[in-house]
């Protein structure tokens, strides 16, 4: 997936096989991938594989859940996509980009193969199997007890997060947003959506009971209420 992969608590070869399966279907850099073939197809209706249908279904759910902030069309036209079982219908010229959910889904899928406490991390997005301590951007640490943790932002790949409302790279005041989720997918979606929401991001996560940590462009760190509550040290009993 073009990212660093770290595995603990499982067989790295098995994890690599799982990740390769997702990469072979959804890579935009492999012309033979199913996603590239679907995007090239001129027919309005196409039959897709079960894995493709599952990921696209999740992407459409995520788009609905985030009011289009995380959008598989990157241009606000996700409502024009219809999925019935394995049949996909969309305007032929409408290209799909499932990067918003695929990496996190692959991490969750790979974490399902772990047979001992540990984690799977792909490019810094991780799913845990048992508690794992994690280093955070701008000098911080946190223990992920269950679920996943993901960071989105512009620190590594520049302005790659697109605001679907404008079709332009986001002008978020944040450089990096880290969010905790019940899964890596949940964490990744929360991090992306709250990054794109800008100053409304911390409150949006609090409304959903999701912990988020925001690093501003000037290096200032902002924790939303849920994050601060969760990571507060409890004084030991004497």
């Amino acid at each position: 997936m073009g990212c660093d992969v770290a595995v603990a608590g499982g067989d790295p070869d098995v994890v690599a096989d799982v990740l390769e399966r997702w990469e072979s279907v959804f890579s935009l850099f492999r012309p033979e991938s199913e996603l590239c073939r679907v995007n090239r197809a001129e027919a309005q209706v196409a039959a897709v594989s079960p894995l493709f249908a599952r990921a696209l279904g999740v992407a459409l759910d995520v788009a609905a859940e985030t009011a289009g902030l995380v959008d598989p069309t990157l241009c606000g036209r996700w409502r024009e996509i219809a999925l019935a079982g394995r049949l996909l219908s969309r305007p032929p010229s409408l290209a799909l980009d499932l990067n918003g959910v695929v990496k996190a889904l692959a991490v969750d899928d790979a974490a399902g193969t772990l047979d001992a406490p540990g984690f799977v991390s792909v490019g810094g997005d991780l799913a845990v199997h048992g508690p794992v301590d994690v280093a955070l951007p701008a000098d911080g640490t946190v223990r992920v007890v269950s679920g996943g943790l993901a960071t989105s932002g512009t620190a590594s790949r520049g302005e790659h997060l697109v605001d679907a409302a404008t079709g332009q790279p986001s002008e978020s005041p944040w450089e990096q947003v880290t969010a905790s989720g019940a899964s890596c997918l949940a964490a990744d979606v929360a991090a992306k959506a709250s990054f794109l929401l800008g100053t409304r991001g911390p409150e949006w996560l609090d409304e959903r009971g999701i912990a988020g940590r925001f690093v501003a462009r000037d290096g200032m760190v902002v924790e939303n209420d849920t994050w601060a509550r969760s990571t507060r040290e409890v004084p030991a009993c004497t």
Binding site: D133, V142, V145, G181, S183, A186, I210, A211
Partner: protein
């Protein structure tokens, strides 16, 4: 009188025949109706099911998308880092 009696008997036979024909027609209609409902391809035998993903899957995904995870203060040197990729 004899003529009246014959007419009356004829009317009685006609009434009986009409009743029999009506009952027979009703029976044929009933059998055809039940048969069509049970066998005709255009008639669904069971409750229609949606073509999309099962509800249980949709519920699981929905729960996962809106739910936060569980975090706590770190207690050990972290073996892994979360960062943008």
């Amino acid at each position: 009188m004899a003529t009246d009696s014959r007419i009356e008997r004829a009317r009685q036979r006609a009434r009986t025949a009409k009743t029999a024909i009506g009952a027979l027609a009703l029976l044929v209609f009933g059998v055809a109706f039940v048969g069509a409902k049970a066998h005709a391809p255009g008639h669904a035998k069971g409750k229609a099911k949606p073509l999309g993903a099962p509800r249980s899957f949709e519920r699981a995904v929905h729960r996962s998308v809106v739910q936060g995870g569980q975090i706590a203060p770190a207690v050990q040197p972290p073996p892994v880092a979360s960062s943008t990729s």
